[in-house]
């Protein structure tokens, strides 16, 4: 406060110092701006022109309200130049000399002198406002000033002395004043001083102290000054800060030393003499002792914010505990709010215990029962239940048992694991052997046992051969066979097969140990088998082989005999023994020679037979059109034979001979070969049923329409059979040819019986009884094809007639079974090869005939045409301008140029577009297929127009609908699971709000998860066990199954 006063005086001094400057200024009168506006303006100005303001303020102080527009120079006549920029430190042209030392202004003393005037002014104000007088120390002079008001008040006082207008704006006035020297400092002062609490008198203290304090303040001020922005720098710091002792009225805001901090003590010390001071001090002391100084409450907004934050945390904690429950409920496929009926069935004992006789009859009955002791008391029931309890020992025993079992299991487990790890093959083989039977291995080693076993086996074999015990001779087997083996009686069939197997095993001859010979033999057998299969039927071959073998053996023996040494020592070296040996050897030799001779003779015989067979084969080649065919290796091996001309046909061949070799490598013959092979197993002697019918084959076929032309044509089938019969039973010369051979009945003639009924009669005339093949063929062609094709065909007819000549061989070919299979590729090849049609009639097959028949039908071209039309329809070439009338047609030159370029370009674009569209079609590049890609509008209504909501991709949606949900496609349980609604609720069930349970929260969840894992582990282990014990396996699975079904049903 004192400081302020001093400042004021200082201002006044200034004023007084330059009276000429301001006094000349006139008091402005007339219209003026409102006060607030002034103030605003002023505020602005003093920021801009801080120096000018000083003077202004002074003016203000003296002259009250004036126009204070600082934009204008305060006095137009007296222009005070601002400091030159070069002088200021701003542009740093000179060395910056900062003097932070506080220097008292030179005219300090003058201030003092002028004090009086200022004091006078003040005094006036003081007198006006209040009568209170207080001593106020002022510097060293201890000038007492009466002061009651705050700093603001002082200003107010000053201003109000001139005008009352400013009464309400003391604060602002003060600010104005403060701006004269230093804003910040003033503000700090203001803070301190404006507190009304400090409005008390304080005695001034010593001067030394003051000096010290003063210094500090100045320093602080300088520090503040440094912080100021550059633009706001003061030209001079003409600040005087006094150093009053600390008091409630003059508090040191900065604190400084702890010694100089204001304490409560300091504050209450002035109250020492007032009544009640003691109690106050006591309370203060107590407070200090406790050391709990309550902080000032935070601002309301901050408090609220903190409150909210804390509340949020609390509630989020509260809510987050529900999170798991909510999540689970959300994820649950179905929420169930149904009443669960109490299904715990009451036992009879329980019911009996609860029973209380009510009616008289019941009571009577009860009495009677009780009398006779027939009623079990409830206590009895309870005791019965009590019996179920286990004693401690029992429990222990059980536990031990279980533990033992468990340990055993684990032991076995470990063992199995170890065994499984062993990778050695030999080990496993040995293990397997040992499992099969430990004795076997020993048997193999021990010759004695081996022998015994062999004898045993031989005996068994003999027994089996005698009794035929296992050859379905039993009553049971006979019965089964009689009844017929059916698919359903798998068991019995298997048993029968088993018996046969045992029989076979028992009666099997015990082969020599020499594997090589047996394998050779078997291979030889196979060879002969295949030979016979292929119709080569050379029984002599194995025989010769055996003979050769025997020969070799005997020769060996002979050689061995010759070279054999006579033992020189031991028993055998005795003379009589050697003689005996020699004799025996000679005998053997002679015998061997005899055998050898015999063998050679036999061999010669065989060779003869072979020769005969060979001749036969050659003869069989001649009728190339029938009989068995050869393919593959065999076909390759014999081609040379084909060239040889057959001499004669041997009559009375065996069936094998009838199906003699025919070497053909042309595909169609292969086909026939297939069919002929299929026929082969058939008994030749057996007469085909249709063959029997053959004799009456002239009788009309039942088909009504067919009947007409039937007299002329012999039933193809019949002819086929006839041919076959003839082949088999009545061999005839291959060169027999004649018109009486069944007409060229083409099998495919019979196909369209139904299809040609209309047209057949028309063509009937062309078919004559006498005509041979060609005419019939042509007729059939006529019949088969549509009129357009027929027209085309007519041209070709002549050719075909020429080329087809009736031939016995051809007939024979047709005799073969007709449905034969072959690689389609081969057929395709044949389709492609045009020259085939030019082949001679002898080699012409059925297939070719058919090809010939449909040769005129260019079906593929027709189809292509059709496809092109359809594509034109489905993928039209867009509309384009072909020509504009009159455009480009005026001159010949234009006409020659053709349509303009842009039209051509447009057309080209359209064409390309169409080609692109065509290339995207499914049937693009498929020459034989045409797939319509028109949209099926009627079907489209069963399709979803767009993706349903939660889905974002078509693939996922279509995957999700891939399995039908219907009852027909799922089990009952599955169906019900699949269609169960999200919420199941029974009528009348009240849905309670969810209750919070610890077990359901996360901890509970984790517990549950643990349990689950444990369960899984358990089940896994049990499975493992099950795998190990095969016997229990089926039982368990059955049981499970039953349970499952029960559940499901």
């Amino acid at each position: 406060m004192a400081d302020h006063l001093k400042r004021q005086s200082h201002k006044k001094n200034k004023v007084s110092k330059k009276p000429g400057k301001n006094i000349k200024k006139e008091r402005k009168k007339g219209p003026r701006l409102p006060v607030s506006l002034y103030r605003e303006l002023h505020l602005e100005n003093h920021h801009r022109y801080p120096i000018q303001k000083e003077s202004e303020c002074e003016e203000q102080e003296y002259e009250g309200l004036q126009l204070r527009n600082s934009d204008l120079p305060s006095d137009i006549y007296e222009y005070e130049e601002n400091q030159a920029p070069e002088d200021s430190l701003k542009n740093h042209r000179f060395d910056s000399i900062h003097s932070f030392e506080y220097e008292l202004p030179s005219n300090f003393e003058d201030e003092e002198i002028d004090e009086g005037a200022a004091d006078g002014e003040e005094r006036i104000g003081q007198d006006k406002s209040s009568k209170q007088h207080r001593l106020f120390s002022y510097g060293k002079k201890r000038k007492a000033t009466t002061m009651q008001r705050s700093d603001d008040d002082v200003d107010e006082e000053i201003s109000s002395s001139q005008s009352e207008d400013l009464d309400g704006f003391e604060g602002d006035e003060f600010n104005e004043g403060s701006n004269d020297e230093d804003d910040v400092k003033e503000k700090s002062w203001e803070q301190e001083i404006s507190d009304p609490e400090h409005d008390t008198n304080i005695e001034a203290k010593d001067g030394d102290e003051d000096v010290e304090r003063h210094r500090k303040t100045v320093e602080a001020v300088h520090m503040l000054h440094k912080k100021e922005p550059k633009g706001m720098r003061r030209k001079r710091a003409g600040i005087l800060s006094e150093a009053y002792p600390e008091s409630e009225f003059n508090l040191n805001p900065h604190g400084g030393d702890t010694m100089q901090q204001i304490t409560v003590e300091d504050l209450i010390s002035p109250l020492q003499n007032t009544p009640g001071f003691g109690s106050l001090r006591k309370r203060v002391q107590q407070l200090e002792k406790k050391g709990s100084v309550v902080d000032a409450p935070l601002p309301k907004a901050l408090q609220d914010r903190l409150n909210r934050k804390a509340g949020y945390e609390k509630t989020s904690d509260e809510i987050s505990k529900w999170q798991d429950i909510v999540k689970r409920n959300r994820e649950a496929p179905t929420l169930v709010f149904t009443q669960r009926p109490d299904l715990t069935a009451a036992s009879t004992a329980e019911l009996a215990a609860k029973f209380v006789p009510t009616t008289n009859l019941e009571k009577e009955v009860m009495e009677l029962l009780q009398e006779n002791g027939l009623v079990e008391s409830t206590t009895e029931a309870n005791t019965a239940l009590g019996h179920n309890k286990l004693t401690m020992d029992e429990v222990k025993e059980r536990r031990e048992k279980l533990a033992k079992l468990r340990s055993m299991l684990s032991y076995h487990e470990a063992k199995a694991k170890r065994m499984k790890k062993i990778k050695s093959k030999t080990y496993h083989r040995l293990l397997q052997n040992s499992r099969k039977g430990n004795t076997k291995g020993e048997d193999l080693i021990d010759p004695e046992t081996l022998k015994e076993a062999a004898i045993k086996a031989e005996f068994k074999r003999a027994q089996e051969r005698m009794t035929l015990k296992h050859k379905n001779t039993s009553k049971w087997a006979k019965r089964i066979i009689k009844r017929g083996i059916k698919a359903k009686e798998d068991g019995s069939r298997e048993a029968l097969a088993d018996q046969l197997r045992t029989h076979a095993a028992l009666t099997r001859k015990i082969h020599a140990i020499d594997d090589a010979t047996t394998s050779e033999e078997s291979s030889g057998e196979e060879d002969s088998e295949t030979d016979s299969k292929n119709g080569l039927s050379s029984p002599s071959k194995p025989k010769t082989r055996i003979l050769a073998k025997a020969k070799i053996e005997t020769l060996k023996l002979l050689e061995g005999n010759a070279e054999a040494e006579i033992p020189t020592s031991g028993l055998f070296s005795l003379p009589f023994m050697t003689r005996a040996i020699e004799k025996k050897r000679k005998q053997a030799q002679s015998e061997a020679f005899a055998v050898l001779e015999e063998l050679e003779q036999l061999e010669n015989d065989d060779a003869h037979i072979d020769q005969m067979n060979f001749n036969l084969e050659k003869e069989n080649e001649k009728p190339a059109s029938y009989g068995r065919l050869a393919f593959g290796d065999m076909a390759k091996s014999i081609p040379n034979l084909k060239e040889e001309e057959p001499d004669m046909l041997v009559e009375g061949n065996t069936s094998d001979e009838a199906e003699g070799e025919d070497v053909q490598d042309i595909p169609e013959f292969k086909k026939k070969a297939f069919s002929s092979r299929r026929r082969k197993p058939k008994d030749n002697a057996k007469i085909n049923p249709s063959g029997v019918e053959l004799q009456t084959c002239e009788k009309p076929v039942t088909d009504a329409v067919w009947k007409d032309g039937c007299n002329d044509l012999i039933d193809f089938n019949a002819s086929v059979e006839q041919g076959h019969e003839v082949d088999n039973n009545v061999p005839k010369a291959p060169d027999v040819e004649g018109p009486n051979v069944p007409a060229q009945a083409n099998p495919w003639l019979y196909g369209p019986v139904q299809g040609i009924e209309g047209t057949f009669t028309k063509e009937k005339n062309t078919i004559k009884q006498d005509t041979s093949g060609p005419l019939v063929v042509s007729a059939s062609l006529e019949v088969l094809t549509s009129p357009q094709v027929r027209r085309k065909r007519k041209k070709k007819k002549a050719k075909t007639q020429k080329s087809i000549t009736p031939d016995k061989g051809q007939d024979d070919k047709e005799n073969e079974r007709h449905l034969s299979s072959n690689d389609s590729e081969e057929e395709e090849n044949q389709d492609v090869k045009e020259p085939r049609f030019q082949l001679s009639a002898e080699n012409e097959s059925q297939l070719e005939l058919i090809q010939r028949a449909f040769a005129g039908d260019d079906v593929e071209a027709d189809f292509q045409q059709m496809k092109v039309e359809a594509l034109n329809d489905e993928v039209p070439l867009g509309e384009s301008v072909l020509s504009l009338p009159g455009w480009g047609q005026w001159t010949d030159v234009q006409k020659k140029k053709g349509p303009p370029q842009w039209i051509l370009k447009q057309q080209e674009e359209l064409r390309q577009g169409r080609e692109q569209a065509l290339s995207k079609r499914k049937d693009f590049k498929m020459n034989h297929v045409m797939i319509s890609e028109k949209m099926d509008k009627k079907f489209a209504k069963f399709m979803a127009p767009q993706l349903p909501f939660p889905f974002t991709s078509r693939e996922i949606y279509e995957k999700s609908t891939r399995m039908p949900l219907g009852r027909e496609f799922n089990t009952d349980q599955g169906f019900r699971d699949l269609i169960r609604p999200a919420v199941l609720k029974d009528a009348g069930v009240i849905i309670d709000p969810i209750k919070y349970k610890m077990s359901e929260t996360r901890t509970g969840d984790s517990l549950g998860r643990k349990q689950e894992i444990l369960k899984k582990a358990k089940s896994f282990r049990s499975e493992d066990k099950r795998k190990r014990s095969n016997t229990t396996n089926s039982f368990v699975s059955n049981k499970e199954m039953r349970q499952n079904t029960v559940q499901k049903i």
Binding site: R483, G484, I485, A487, K488, S675, R678, N688, S690, E693, V701, T702, D703, P747, W748, G751, Q754, G755, S786, H818, L819, D823, S824, Q846, L847, I850, Q851, F854, D857, V859, F863, A870, V929, M930, S932, E933, K934, D936, K937, K938, F939, A940, F942, M943, A944, L947, P950, I956, Y957, E958, S960, R962, M963, E968, F969, T971, G974, L978, N1044, T1045
Partner: protein, 514 residues
């Protein structure tokens, strides 16, 4: 139906693994749902597989040769002599040589048989007991007979029209739209009677409502080969130009046209799963087609063209030509080189029709001498599902089944090549979508103009309310209404252009800066 589904599940179970829905399916809820669904499906399939052993006790067996024997050489006499009496009784011949070649059809359960002679002899018999149910002479050419949804009704393709008779042989309907029918087929799930006529017209008639569903002209001439694909109810026709066409009632053009043979097609048969088709042609070939790729898998060559084809429930293929029948096993999946069984009709009787009996190991043959039935071990499905077909059905059961059939009836529009497309997302051709957007745009424009016109033009003070000015204002209203549309169009165009430019000119790495 359960067991059938189980059967299919059995087939598909290993091929339907649990789908792992991609993790980039960001919608957690949806993913969870789908995964749960997958789990259920998996469980369901497993459970169904478990049920199998309870519900499908019987196994199909085939002829088994011993040693050098071959099954194709087994004669019917041998087979008959080796089977039980009840089975042996199923092999028989009915000799009716006078009324000439017979066609036949089995009821869905395989218990009843209807047959019709070319000369108008129609009869139904109880197949198992060989008890004659009804017999009648219509005294006109009868080309085909067909049972409807059960044994109570059958249709006959007679000389001029298709007639429907009931069990007793009473004529119920004369379908005069079906003129000169040659072949009949019945689609049981759709209740559609299909006929093809002398002029190559295909007709669909709903037998439950009596409405004519569709009439298509094939433009391929006379057609007497008609067969249904049991998988998708698409009908296959065999034509004289060697092509097979597949039809649905929805489309007036064939869905697929396959060029199968060089000569006329004589017979067509479809496998029950709809994956393979067999055709026989006058060129003497029997071809197996894969219907997924429309390519011929392999071909068999028959010397005389096969007249009739059929595939049994267990996948045996029967080929009838002339008086011979060959039955092939596994002939569809891979090429076989010898038939499983062969049979020759006595007396040179010509086969006109052959059909495997459902749920029985027998085959019915209609031929020129009457009817024959032969035993074909392993041809029929061993386990029947009473929800699908019950050979031992009582009257009550039949009545209930009929109601169920009607309730489960499928609409004729649902016939398409891929029935699994039902419920999938519609993929419209570009033109369709373009047209639609164009239409929408135009509609919006028209609406905008209308709205602009409807804005009331207020009267203004004098001098400003001249007719010209009023007119101008009206025009202005319309322009302002149209403006946003036009702007949007321009914007979209420019953005398209921009996109194009950025796509074309900039290198890939720089496109994101465009």
């Amino acid at each position: 139906m359960l067991h059938q589904s189980v059967a299919t599940l059995e087939v598909h179970f290993p091929t339907v693994p649990l789908i792992q829905f991609p993790m980039d399916l960001h919608d957690k809820k949806l993913r969870g749902k789908l995964q749960y669904g997958e789990k259920l499906i998996n469980q369901s399939a497993k459970a169904a597989a478990k049920f199998e052993q309870w519900l499908l006790p019987s196994e199909a067996g085939y002829l088994e040769p011993e040693g050098l024997e071959q099954t194709k050489n087994f004669s019917q006499e041998a087979i008959v002599s080796n089977v039980d009496i009840s089975s042996a009784r199923k092999a028989f011949d009915i000799q009716l040589p006078a009324l000439g070649p017979y066609t036949l059809d089995f009821s869905p359960s395989g218990r009843y048989l209807v047959f019709g002679g070319r000369r108008g002899h129609l009869a139904t018999i109880d197949w198992k007991s060989t008890h004659l149910v009804s017999e009648l002479q219509v005294a006109e050419t009868t080309r085909d007979v067909k049972f409807l949804h059960n044994e109570l009704f059958f249709a006959a393709a007679q000389k001029k029209y298709v007639y429907i008779y009931d069990k007793k042989g009473t004529e119920i309907h004369c379908l005069k739209e079906h003129t000169f029918p040659l072949k009949l087929e019945f689609l049981p799930h759709h209740f559609l009677l299909v006929s093809v006529d002398k002029f190559g017209s295909l007709r669909y008639q709903d037998t439950s409502t009596g409405l004519m569903v569709a009439q298509h002209r094939t433009h391929l001439g006379r057609c007497s080969v008609l067969r249904m694909n049991p998988y998708n109810a698409v009908v296959g026709l065999g034509h004289n130009n060697g092509s097979v066409t597949m039809w649905s009632p929805n489309m007036s053009k064939p869905l697929v046209t396959l060029l199968c043979h060089h000569g006329p097609v004589t017979a067509v048969a479809f496998e029950s799963q709809g994956q393979q088709m067999i055709t026989a042609g006058m060129d003497g070939k029997v071809k197996v087609f894969d219907l997924r790729k429309y390519v011929a898998l392999h071909a068999y060559f028959s010397k005389s063209p096969a007249k009739s084809l059929d595939i049994s429930q267990q996948g045996l293929l029967a080929v009838g030509e002339g008086s011979n029948i060959e039955i092939w096993r596994d002939a569809l999946t891979s090429k076989q080189y010898k038939p499983y069984m062969t049979h020759h009709l006595p007396k040179g009787w010509q086969i006109s029709n052959l059909l495997f009996c459902p749920y029985e190991d027998t085959m019915g043959i209609g031929h020129s001498g009457g009817l024959s039935s032969i035993l074909v071990p392993g041809s029929g499905e061993a386990n029947f599902d009473t929800f699908v077909a019950n050979p031992f059905e009582t009257v009550k059961q039949r009545q209930e089944a009929e109601v169920h059939l009607l309730l489960d009836k499928l609409q004729p529009e649902m016939i398409a090549l891929d029935p699994k497309q039902i419920g999938s997302i519609r993929r419209e051709p570009k033109e369709h979508s373009q047209m639609k957007s164009q239409q929408a745009l135009e509609a919006n424009r028209a609406a905008a103009i209308m709205a602009g016109k409807l804005v009331v033009v207020r009267h203004k003070k004098k001098g400003r309310d001249k007719p010209t000015k009023r007119q101008k204002r009206k025009q202005n209203n319309i322009i302002t209404a149209k403006r946003p549309l036009i702007e949007a169009q321009i914007h979209s165009k420019s953005s398209l252009k921009k996109a194009k430019i950025s796509d074309q000119t900039l290198p890939l790495a720089l496109r994101r800066f465009a």
